[in-house]
């Protein structure tokens, strides 16, 4: 007979592992660190479930918050170990030159996101890569919505400065 607690944990792993891993990866810039963070976040979830304090519908928020906190102390300048970094994701076949340009753009965007202060990077990752609303971001980071809005505004301003050159190139091409 299957343990219901175990079943619920396995369901949570299948449902959230992708998001937690990618969130940690974008926060740290390292695949290795992201794996460690995902491991620790799910271990904490399992322990919480065992104590009877199962987050339930708030599991996603619990995992995101844990991963964010764990990622805070990691070296943010670590590079992706996977060959090609972001390009490890599947893409349609391209011409070599186009592929090279796209990889360069990916690298610049990733560097710009990693160059943001942690508080700004958090809101950018949650908003742009996880598509969360201001209220959901506020619930995860335990910030008021006004602070989320303000930090996102400042983060975008910083990103526009960091990506200014890329922007111009993209506009010209």
């Amino acid at each position: 007979m299957t343990d219901p607690l175990r079943s619920r944990f396995e369901a949570a792993v299948h449902e959230h592992q992708q998001a937690v891993f990618n969130l940690a990866r974008r926060m740290t810039g390292s695949d290795h660190a992201a794996e460690e963070i995902a491991q620790e976040a799910f271990l904490r979830l399992w322990r919480a479930m065992g104590r009877g304090v199962e987050p339930g519908p708030a599991t996603r928020a619990y995992l995101y918050r844990t991963a964010m906190n764990l990622g805070r102390d990691r070296g943010r300048r670590a590079r992706c170990e996977l060959a090609g970094g972001c390009a490890a994701a599947p893409h349609p076949p391209e011409e070599p030159e186009a592929k090279m340009l796209r990889r360069e753009l990916e690298w610049k965007v990733r560097e710009a996101v990693l160059a943001l202060p942690t508080a700004y990077r958090r809101v950018v990752v949650l908003r742009h890569y996880h598509g969360l609303t201001y209220e959901e971001i506020g619930a995860i980071l335990r910030w008021p919505v006004s602070l989320v809005r303000n930090r996102l505004f400042r983060a975008r301003r910083r990103l526009r400065q960091l990506l200014h050159g890329v922007w111009k190139e993209a506009g010209e091409s």
């Binding site: 995902a38 805070r72 975008r156 526009r160």
Partner: protein, 176 residues
Amino acid sequence: MKGRCPAEGKWHALVDGEVPAARAAVLHRHAARCTACGRYLAELRSLGRMLEVCPDVPVPPRLTASLLALADRAPGGRPGPAVGQWLVVASLATTLFAVRALVPLPVGTTGGWDRALPAAFEALLTLGRTGRLVTEALSAGRQPLEWAALTASVGLVMLARRLAEMWGRFPRGEER
């Protein structure tokens, strides 16, 4: 953008879908006739598209396997005791001891403020130390067990010192 144009934050809220439909329509109409606002809105959208060039990567299969294996860790499929609760208990014990140092000495014993003041200073130091440990334990991604042990050891040292002091301070048995 001019003085009568919407604030920049409004455009951010618009691209994030955080503006009610009626207000969004007003903003769109404004962007259509105001070159500066229209350009700003286009830039914000372009930034969003640029960030999307880094899509999600698939989870390595070994990670999925190790995550699922986490459920095997605790005996019987259940994890051990809540370490965080022990951390709180240890911190409370330390704090109580620190506060105890502030309580005036019992009637009939010698001493007074000359002893209470150094004790109060020591108590404040301990409170600060404990507070820092607890804050670090809760904020950083470290193992709570390490911090619980550290906090508890600070508490135990304080306890030992206080007991030694009290032992020397209170007269015993027939001497009373």
